[in-house]
């Protein structure tokens, strides 16, 4: 069964005909070709597929795309503006928070959303915010450091 939904993706309004069983992750990756959103486990356990839905982080592999009808999605592709890295992307790169890079899109979006909610998070609050995003490469230290660099 198919359904037509309207999504604002990275600032662009889209009308999409999708299967009702499709997840938001599938629609982003397969239908829109936005492969920056990663599929690490497809069961909501790793956070690699995190996107911001109306500004809040969600695991796009657990969300049916029809549930996102009428909402605004920000994926990693929408973060850098006019060829300039977003400051969070810049900080991740400078602090060594990126290794294999597979968790980075989700991790960066979660970090951005944390700072919008709480501009001065403690280290514990940072750890809690990214607790749902698994990184096997960095041991999290340089990721925490990158996010802390925004804390005054």
């Amino acid at each position: 069964m198919e359904k037509t939904i309207r999504l604002t993706v990275n600032g662009e309004e889209k009308t999409l005909k999708i299967g009702v069983q499709q997840t938001l992750l599938e629609v982003l990756r397969e239908d829109l070709g936005l492969t920056g959103t990663k599929k690490g486990c497809n069961q909501g356990e790793c956070g690699a597929c995190t996107v911001l839905l109306d500004g809040k982080p969600v695991s796009s592999c657990l969300l049916l795309a029809v549930k996102a009808d009428g909402k605004t999605v920000l994926t990693i592709e929408g973060l850098a503006q006019a060829g300039e890295l977003h400051p969070m992307q810049q900080a991740f790169n400078e602090k060594g928070a990126i290794q294999c890079g597979f968790c980075s899109p989700g991790m960066i979006l979660v970090a951005k959303s944390l700072l919008e909610r709480n501009p001065n998070p403690s280290t514990q609050e940072i750890k809690e915010a990214i607790a749902g995003n698994i990184c096997r490469c960095t041991g999290y230290l340089q990721i925490i450091e990158a996010i802390r660099s925004f804390v005054s």
Partner: protein
């Protein structure tokens, strides 16, 4: 050493922006026109005879383009270890038997994943269930089910190279049931030394299987083009030339008819180097259907059917003098490699290889057995044997120290190897900072004070703290196919350069560190370098990003290629400047100048243009190469551990402070310290990132990670239940870089990415003992084990 412009600097990753913006294309992101999707049917039984595979219903399902079974591939054999002693024992799809739950039986290519999945459910397989065995010690006993009995006439993939020891006859392995590999090595007089020892003790340690947990699942895309008779593949791998060799031999295609294309790799940790059936099947199905085929494993398949770290049993006996000097050591290792040999004979060899570089043990006997069971296949994983053997040896030494009322640090200092030592196999320690590492780590964990504090803790305290320490070592490359790394530096009109390297950045930062080596040697900026990597068609051979060889082996190749390009530019510049020879010319910022008279200068661009016009059209292309180990042409004997192993050993000392909740049994890693001798660190941010990753993985494997198997069935094939570290588990951390200069390394660099996953295990185990006064002999140290040790359950 401090006047480098790029080496040793904290230069951000060159692939960082692509990865931070989602532009980086991984294998799972590759989508080709007309692409089919493949799925694999797997055995639900740990050991069974395959009686009949009926694919007729699946073939008739609309949307199914091809179905293949073992019958199509009778003769195809391959394996990570493929030598005259150990002929290849794996097949892409089972023919006679299945040997573990998840063993591949059939593969389907269809228009969508859903159709492929549906097709699998239509394949009817008849099995005759056979008795199975899951415990390696039981599998070794007479009368245990025999898992492999087949004769294979396969010869080594590498024999063409003539690098194997040419022997008329292969020495027989001991007659032990289900033996897949055997290593025996001995030096000195062990029996005599034990008699002379003041004290000796024997212990048994055990480690469970663990998973790599690369964030990118295993995937392959294959596209066969009949017009050029060429197979194009995208693989999530850490060694493109080894994969090409495997595919060439199994598909019967010349290597030149296979092109591995670059894609970014979402983590590897040793688990993406073997050839996997899904890769072969994607290629085979593409050749059969003449359409691109993608096979992406789901997370459960990755846990079950790719590779795990070997569960290992270590029995170890050590004899010491009263002052802690080690006189003799007798080590016996049993590794369970699962249903196929995997890297079994390698891991038992490496348990020796990572045992003997750390302490000077004059009388030593080591025997390793790798054993078939009906568990999942085990292969290389970060450290590959080092975590297991280092945990056992340093836990054991801590027990000896406690028995003799000596400080463990004293025993370690007394016995650690020193720079200039020659190991019994002939390897030289031209750089060795073990003593400095040990001092640094002990200082950073505040050893004396913390140890005194842990002795003074009241017995009734619910929370108890303790500290522990352990040492580790790791190779920096070895002789393994293709036995060398090479690099090409192509200069452009504007004086910038493109580096061609077969090395794959699997997250360890090699594109960045190799750019730094090139920039430093050539005298250009990082922004003037473009890296073309990971493509078998464009790039010269490379050992691959495993065996910790990239920094030293590929690094040397890049440095030599840069030096070659520079030499050619200087010759051209000397012509332009009217100098008799280029001696005295220096390079910096894409300029060539006379050191004594810097006003006399030409730009790289001018020198390159002049070279094209005046030096036989030479556009300046530099080339360099470096062998896996320059002092030998052979790979070492796995069975006898003879021959040279590696050109340089990386070393580390790691310390841990833990807090044990004696009510719940939960152990919290409070602080982790690593002092690493990685030679001269090419990039501090990269090096520290490697250490952090190693520590996190090691801490997980010490405290929570375990692949839970019950009669061969995996019970926790998901991140949630596997329990790898999350951000909340991150301890306080301290690192020190003991910058020795490795003479054979580029700018003095050697290994960093693997060794220090190993020492943290023993450090944590010793810290737990320090905290609660009881030893836990098996990893992971779960709350249940702690409570049992405390006799609370």
């Amino acid at each position: 050493m401090n006047d480098y412009n790029y080496i040793g600097k904290e230069i951000p990753r060159v692939d960082g922006p692509a990865k931070a913006t989602g532009q980086a294309v991984y294998t799972v992101d590759v989508k080709l026109p007309e692409m089919l999707y493949g799925k694999i049917l797997r055995s639900p039984h740990p050991h069974a005879r395959l009686l009949k595979v009926d694919t007729s219903a699946a073939e008739q399902l609309p949307g199914v383009e091809a179905v293949i079974t073992g019958e199509d591939l009778q003769e195809v054999r391959y394996a990570f270890v493929d030598t005259p002693r150990y002929p290849a024992d794996e097949q892409p799809l089972a023919t006679e038997k299945v040997r573990y739950i998840g063993d591949e039986v059939a593969a389907v290519a269809a228009e969508s994943e859903a159709i492929a999945e549906k097709a699998l459910s239509l394949i009817k397989v008849e099995y005759e269930i056979l008795p199975a065995v899951f415990d390696p010690e039981k599998a070794m006993q007479e009368g245990a089910p025999v898992i492999h009995g087949e004769q294979s006439a396969s010869t080594s993939f590498w024999e063409d190279w003539g690098v194997a020891q040419q022997k008329k006859t292969v020495q027989e392995d001991p007659s032990i049931n289900n033996l897949s590999g055997h290593t025996f090595v001995s030096f000195g007089d062990v029996e005599q030394a034990f008699q002379e020892a003041d004290y000796s003790r024997e212990d048994r340690f055990e480690l469970k299987p663990t998973a790599h947990c690369q964030m990118e699942p295993h995937a392959a895309v294959a596209s066969y083009n009949p017009l050029e008779d060429k197979l194009h593949v995208w693989l999530s791998t850490q060694g493109i030339f080894l994969k090409r060799l495997f595919l060439s031999k199994t598909l019967g295609l010349p290597a030149s008819k296979i092109r591995v294309h670059h894609s970014f790799v979402g983590g590897a940790f040793g688990g993406k180097i073997d050839l996997f059936p899904y890769e072969f099947c994607a290629a085979y199905l593409s050749i059969k259907t003449r359409r691109p085929v993608k096979i992406e494993l789901d997370r459960e398949e990755v846990f079950m059917t790719t590779r795990q770290r070997h569960p290992i049993i270590v029995k170890i006996k050590t004899g010491v003098k009263k002052d802690g000097t080690i006189l003799a050591q007798d080590i016996r290792v049993i590794a369970d490699n699962g249903g196929y040999r995997g890297s079994g004979p390698v891991v038992i060899f490496l348990c020796h290889g990572f045992s003997f570089p750390v302490y000077n043990v004059p009388n030593y006997r080591y025997e390793g057995f790798s054993i078939y069971t009906n568990n999942g296949i085990r292969g290389p994983q970060r450290g590959h044997g080092a975590p297991q053997i280092r945990f056992a040896i340093d836990s054991h030494l801590d027990l000896i120290a406690r028995d003799l009322d000596l400080d463990l640090l004293t025993i370690m200092h007394k016995n650690v190897r020193q720079e200039g030592d020659v190991l019994p196999n002939g390897d030289r320690l031209d750089s060795c900072g073990l003593t400095e590492c040990l001092m640094g780590a002990a200082g950073a964990i505040d050893w004396q004070k913390k140890r005194e504090q842990s002795h003074l803790q009241a017995n009734g305290n619910r929370y108890r703290r303790g500290v522990g320490i352990s040492l580790c070592s790791m190779f920096s490359g070895a002789m393994y196919y293709p036995f060398a790394s090479a690099a090409v530096v192509k200069m452009h009109d504007d004086g910038s350069a493109t580096l061609f390297t077969g090395a794959q950045d699997i997250g360890q930062g090699s594109y960045t560190t190799m750019s730094q080596v090139l920039a430093e040697e050539l005298g250009i900026g990082i922004e003037d370098i473009c890296v073309v990597a990971g493509d078998t068609e464009l790039c010269p051979i490379d050992l691959g990003s495993f065996l910790s060889c990239t920094a030293l082996v590929t690094g040397n190749a890049v440095k030599k290629a840069a030096a070659d390009a520079k030499r050619q530019m200087l010759e051209s510049a000397a012509d332009l400047l009217g100098l008799a020879d280029p001696a005295g010319l220096k390079t910096q910022n894409k300029m060539i100048y006379l050191e004594d008279d810097p006003q006399k200068s030409v730009s790289f661009a001018q020198a390159i243009q002049a070279s094209v016009l005046k030096r036989d059209g030479n556009p300046i292309i530099g080339r360099g190469s470096f062998k896996g180990y320059p002092r030998t042409e052979r790979y070492p004997s796995l069975a006898k551990a003879k021959g040279l192993f590696t050109g340089a050993y990386g070393f580390a000392a790691q310390a841990a402070e833990v807090e044990v909740d004696t009510l719940t049994g939960l152990v919290r890693l409070v602080k982790a310290v690593t002092f690493h001798d990685c030679g001269f660190p090419l990039n501090k941010t990269v090096v520290e990132g490697q250490i952090h990753g190693c520590v996190s993985m090691g801490a997980g494997q010490a405290l929570s990670e375990e692949v839970h198997l019950e009669k061969g069935q995996l019970f926790n094939p998901s991140f949630l239940h596997y329990q790898l570290p999350i951000a909340l588990d991150t301890p306080e951390s301290a690192e020190g870089l003991v910058a020795t200069i490795e003479p054979s390394g580029p700018f003095g660099a050697k290994e960093v990415g693997e060794g220090c996953v190993a020492g943290i295990l023993g450090a944590i185990a010793n810290a737990v003992h320090d905290a609660i006064g009881v030893r836990i002999y098996s990893l992971p140290i779960t709350p249940e084990k702690v409570l049992r040790a405390l006799k609370k359950i």
